[in-house]
């Protein structure tokens, strides 16, 4: 036995070796445990080649020659402490079961031969995980996911970019209990790794991350306050710079009040870096089904909504029931259109209009009109659009969309529209990058395995199944993998597991794991993951470094959110992003023009921010001017008095 020999393969009738599993024993002090990768060397050639077998330990057993526990009691005279003074030590064995990762040569596939077992070296790990096919050479495309550490061996574990980002396979699902900072941290680390290691020939890549809770992703452009030497060593070993993301663009809708953005990144020093996310009628109506429940909207209502989308919105629309031509470009226009149409129908005593019944029209008006209220801050009445830069996405940039403070409906709308837009642009190859990683946390909420078939779930299923051809890659995180739709999880080429809940491990999805592996999964430390990847014959345990970015919790401590501003201060702060010389006094003077019309003021601010004019104050002031809609005098038949009820001061 040489010094490098760790153990010997054993096979008995009761425990035979198979092509997929073998057993070996080791010395009692052998540095081996569940997850250790080993190499078996046989001295018997097959077809003239000495086979090598790589395996990963999945189970361990230890026992002695005791027939029953009672024999040990008798040997120690019933005193547990006296066993140390026993004249001889009992024979003891460490027996391990390993799952085969790879056999070399691959053919013929035979049971694992009897041979010596060695700890895997770095090269062995590469070979065992088939990384040698994609980590070196001219077609190198390995993405480090972490470091394998066992028995003194440190080896980088790489994922195959073709199987992580497509086109061979794609998507990543990460599961783990909440509160251990594993899921978000792992995704941040993996994104940094992708940005560093994805070869240029694979095209440009960007990431869109939805921040669905608290400040999780709000400070990923800021360096971490503390990074242990061990973490730095891991960064060095894996060839990823320990730096925060260089290019991060933040997007957040306005708060329902409209004065400030609905995000926790509102500290004065950082607020400039958040771009408002607002959509108008056209953008919203396209995804109306996300917000309208099936119970509410039947075929008749659907037909009317389609009619509005195709024939009314964004074009000149005339009808004999309407007083004049309408150009519906915003929710406010649509409301005017509905109001005038219904008034016209009532005046003409009509119950049907272009096959639509008046009750259907009222219902659709009510449901559509609700949208801008339910999604206040995101959906604007006036049609102001401030969006992600579809078509001008930048390479290695992260686009964080903060929806944490939005209502559930509005969050659904954000997912649906952004992901659909990404897909549409990628289909046309017009996004600005060839691949986009979309990170969605709480996937069990958006693509649940049971419950109603929602638009968002349909869309996530579609991405999971077709996204890899487009370059649209889903990184989904969830606490309970078993509660995510099977087709979403099943289409994830790569799966990461942090510490798992024991109940979750008892579900059928984890049946293939050995009890020891499950036990380890249930006790994984922070910074450890179990990785499943198409190239890896078995799940592998790796360590990954803490992300080199400020965590959400540290971020809000270092950059506490600003207090809710007054209207004047809110407008001043926003306009100062365009012209630092603007004073509160100047803004107050201009606001006097609008009087109490807070909505008009916020609308003017939004347009100014969007247009970024040279003369900010002049442009802002101009937006506050009342635009006077024309009234045709004498266009109708005789009427008793001009709308006496509407301007009666007594109501």
């Amino acid at each position: 036995m040489t010094a490098s020999v760790l153990g010997r393969v054993v096979a008995t009738e009761r425990r035979p070796n198979t092509p997929h599993e073998f057993h070996f024993w080791t010395a009692l002090d052998a540095p081996v445990g569940v997850g250790t990768i080993v190499r078996v060397e046989s001295t018997r050639p097959v077809n003239g080649v000495l086979p090598s077998v790589y395996g990963v330990v999945t189970e361990g057993f230890g026992y002695t020659d005791l027939q029953t526990p009672l024999h040990d009691v008798l040997g120690a005279d019933g005193v547990p402490g006296s066993s140390a003074s026993a004249p001889t030590e009992r024979t003891e064995i460490r027996l391990y079961t390993a799952a085969v990762l790879r056999q070399v040569p691959e053919e013929p596939l035979q049971p694992v031969p009897i041979g010596t077992v060695h700890l895997a070296t770095e090269a062995d790990v590469q070979a065992a995980l088939r990384m040698d096919t994609y980590v070196q050479g001219s077609d190198a495309r390995g993405i480090p996911v972490g470091a394998y550490r066992s028995g003194g061996t440190d080896a980088a574990v790489h994922l195959d970019a073709d199987f992580l980002l497509g086109p061979e396979a794609a998507h990543l699902a990460i599961s783990g209990v909440s509160g251990l900072a594993t899921k978000t941290s792992a995704v941040q680390w993996l994104l940094a790794s992708i940005f560093t290691h994805l070869p240029a020939r694979k095209g440009k890549v960007a990431a869109v991350c939805f921040n669905v809770k608290g400040p999780d992703l709000c400070f990923i452009d800021r360096p971490a306050t503390r990074l242990d030497p061990a973490d730095r060593a891991l960064y060095d070993a894996l060839g990823v710079p320990a730096e925060p993301f260089a290019q991060v663009r933040y997007f957040a809708p306005w708060h329902a009040r409209g004065t400030h953005l609905a995000t926790l990144r509102t500290h004065d020093a950082l607020a400039d870096s958040v771009t408002p996310l607002t959509w108008g009628l056209r953008e919203t109506l396209q995804y109306a089904e996300v917000l309208l429940s099936r119970e509410d909207i039947d075929a008749k209502a659907d037909a009317l909504i389609d009619f509005i989308k195709e024939r009314v919105v964004d074009q000149r629309f005339e009808d004999k029931l309407l007083e004049g031509a309408h150009e519906v470009r915003a929710f406010a226009d649509l409301e005017r259109w509905f109001r005038e149409l219904l008034q016209g129908m009532e005046a003409a005593n009509q119950e049907q209009w272009r096959t639509h019944h008046i009750a259907t029209i009222r219902k659709v008006r009510n449901r559509l009109g609700n949208i801008s209220t339910r999604c206040k801050g995101l959906v604007t009445d006036d049609g102001t659009v401030s969006d992600l830069p579809f078509g001008a996405f930048e390479d290695r940039a992260v686009y964080v969309v903060d929806v944490a403070q939005l209502e559930e409906d509005a969050q659904d709308l954000v997912f649906a529209r952004i992901i659909s837009q990404l897909r549409e642009h990628l289909e046309k190859r017009a996004l600005g990058v060839e691949q986009v990683v979309v990170f969605v946390d709480e996937l069990n909420k958006y693509a649940p395995s049971d419950g109603a078939d929602t638009y968002v779930r349909q869309m996530l299923l579609d991405i999971a199944e077709r996204g890899r051809y487009l370059g649209l890659v889903l990184f989904g995180a969830q606490q309970f993998r078993s509660q995510v739709h099977r087709r979403v999880v099943g289409n994830s080429g790569t799966q990461l597991f942090g510490r798992m809940d024991a109940d979750e491990l008892a579900t059928p999805g984890y049946q293939t794991l050995a009890p020891a592996t499950k036990a380890r999964l249930a006790t994984l430390e922070k910074g450890q993951l179990m990785v499943r990847h198409p190239h890896f014959g078995q799940p592998i345990f790796v360590r990954f470094p803490r992300p080199a970015v400020l965590t959400g919790r540290e971020g809000v401590e270092q950059f506490p959110p600003a207090e809710v501003p007054t209207l004047e201060m809110a407008v001043t702060k926003t306009l100062r992003r365009l012209d630092a010389s603007i004073t509160v006094g100047q803004v107050q003077d201009i606001l006097a023009l609008a009087g109490d019309d807070e909505e008009a003021i916020l609308r003017a601010r939004n347009v100014t921010l969007l247009k970024r004019p040279d003369n900010v104050l002049a442009f802002f002031s101009k937006q506050l001017r009342k635009r006077v809609a024309p009234e045709v005098v004498g266009g109708r038949g005789p009427a008793p008095l001009r709308a006496p009820a509407t301007d009666d001061e007594y109501g």
Binding site: D589, A592, L593, A594, S621, K622, L624, R625, K626, R627, V628, A629, P630, E631, V632, V633, G634, G635, R636, G637, P638, A639, P640, L641, R642, P644, D647, E649
Partner: protein
Amino acid sequence: MRLLHLSDLHLGFRQYQRQTPLGINQREADVAQAFARAVDRILELAPDLIVIGGDVFHTVRPTNTAILHAFRQFGRLVHGLPETPIVIAAGNHDMPRSTESACILRLFEQGFAPRADGASPILVADRAPRRLQFPRLGVSVLAVPDLPPGSVELTPDPEARYNVLVLHGEVQGVLPAAGGDDRAAAQIPVAEVTRAGWDYVALGHYHVTTRVADHVWYAGSLDYTSTNPWGELREERVAGRAGKGMIERDLRTGVQVVHPLAPTRPLLDLPAVDGSGRTAGELDAAIASAVAAVPGGIDGAILRLVLRDVPRHVARELDHAALREVQRRALHFHLDVRRPESVRREATGGAPGRRPTLTDALREALAARALPADVPREALVALGLRYLEDAERDEGDRLVPGGEG
């Protein structure tokens, strides 16, 4: 397409103490009569469109008498010109400053029977601007009441054949300077009203008929209804205008006529009398002479006579009985006695002496000034002194701008 532009009616305006036999303030009656005369003239002219640039009433809550009068006169227009729309943009005197008060002008929009086409004969923009399209006339009228400058997008209607802007407010640089930069925020930049696309801009607020640009005009008031009628009179003189009027403009040809309106009573600023070195008796004679020289007599007129450089003790000795007689005959006689400049002690501590007057200083300066050979010095000095005299006479009036209302 003929448009008639009038403005600043100030119905209900009251001034002085004199009353009519029915107990109504005489000036209020005068102003009402001026409007009635204007309506007579409008009925003769029969324009296609009438626009009123605001300040129909002098106060936000006019008297019943004023409301009834306005109703009758507008009724005459509505019935006399059944095809002619009347557009009113409320002025600062019409607009309530609190939300609990409504603008009385809306009564006229809702108080007359609609025309055959369903439209009100009178259309009022009070709380908000209105863009009124008259397809039959091919004209679109943007009527803007007295709102903070810059609060309304003043753009023409691209679909209209003719575009008319009716606006109540102060256009920058048009009114005589009374104040300074602090008024800038309340003024409308000239460029806002002279931009291309408007066929006519009918302004209200300034009481003197004034051209801002070829197609941009203040029609002026129908009577002297500002707080300082003498200033208003002076500004008319400076502008080369004689009295009040209305503007008629043909939008098709651009031809424009200012129709003068006869004054309800004379408003006369008599030539000033220099009282320096004169006795009270001499001044009494000068006053009598000035009053006697008024063509047509002073009965019912509104008069002012400025006496310059009259010390207080001399003023006390004037013949007040004679003055009371003048006041009785005239509707109002304002004897404006101005004392000479005070004697002061020099700050250097020298002997007290009379401070040189501006006239002295000008005379000395012109006497010492180097002149070209062909300019006679005496003529220059005389011209300079005459200019100074004119300026001093106007100075008192300028302290309060005349035509703003």
